[in-house]
């Protein structure tokens, strides 16, 4: 009995502490300068950034291509039972709150092309290295189905709190 008390209590304590920490970590943990696949995030002032996917967005990533450009990649999943037209736009804002990059809306499915529902995919846009996005960067994929209904996948990158480093 004493064995179980002495073993399980610390185990549960560690699990509780770690779970609480992980809960916070899942709230857009600032990047640690590298991803699980070993690729490095670009560093922009103030360094680590927070990542957030929302709406139909399922993931948001950023990496430097080494050719003078950085790419932002937004993962998304579409509802089934329809097909969709897609338009994508990326906007970056500098630390002074002023715009530094704007792709405008780009039509990805002109004419009779469309994207089938029930699928997952990615939208990628690039912008020049050295672009200041320390005021935030967003990539939005606007999907319009055949009934004219619009939905959005959003990905955002923004700087963590400079004091607490939290998102």
């Amino acid at each position: 009995m004493r064995f179980w008390v002495r073993t399980l209590v610390p185990m549960l304590f560690v699990v509780a502490v770690a779970t609480a920490g992980a809960g916070e970590a899942y709230v857009n943990q600032p990047s640690d300068g590298g991803g699980g696949d070993g690729s490095a995030y670009p560093t922009a002032p103030p360094g680590n950034m927070c990542y957030l996917a929302s709406g139909l967005g399922t993931s948001m990533g950023l990496d430097s291509l080494g050719s003078g450009f950085t790419r932002a990649t937004l993962g998304w999943t579409l509802s089934s039972g329809n097909s969709y037209k897609s338009q994508v736009r990326t906007v970056a804002v500098g630390g002074d709150g002023e715009i530094t990059y704007d792709s405008g809306w780009v039509d990805m499915t002109p004419g009779d092309t469309d994207l089938p529902g029930g699928q997952s995919g990615y939208a990628t846009q690039t912008f020049p290295d050295g672009t200041d996005y320390s005021g935030g960067l967003t990539i939005t994929d606007q999907f319009t189905n055949m009934e004219g209904q619009t939905s959005y996948a959003d990905g955002m990158i923004y700087p963590p709190d400079p004091v607490t480093n939290s998102c």
Binding site: T7, N28, L52, G136
Partner: protein, 153 residues
Amino acid sequence: MWLRRSGAFGAAMAIVFLTACTGGMRSDSAPGGAVKADSANRTVTARGRQFATALSSVKSVPVEANIDRAAATGARIFRIEQVAVLDPASHQTFDVPRSQVKQTSGGIVLFEGAKQIVLSREARIVSATHYGYIFRRGSQADPDPRLHAERIR
């Protein structure tokens, strides 16, 4: 004996278990080496909401209005040629500089080099050339000449 007294055995077991779990969640990656955030990166904090609001106000106006407003406040504005590429087989879309698109006998290759993406044979360029706009102010460096960005304002 020591393990029982200190409770370290239980703690160690918990750490091993949690490390195994969280390590798996963070190892996922997107095509082309882009880092994929795990699905839990979806909680909007108050700080995140602030940035989302600011960014959405910039995005709520046409790019031409953003150009006019920036030019009126002394920004230097450049444009860079872009093309849109659709790969229907993998449900991927790309808005990329024309210089990053290579048409080969096997199809389209993007970002030639260490991080290149080889698209399926069905992939095709779906847009005429359009532009992405770069805004620079004050002492901010102009875009690298190798990018062939053209100053318009």
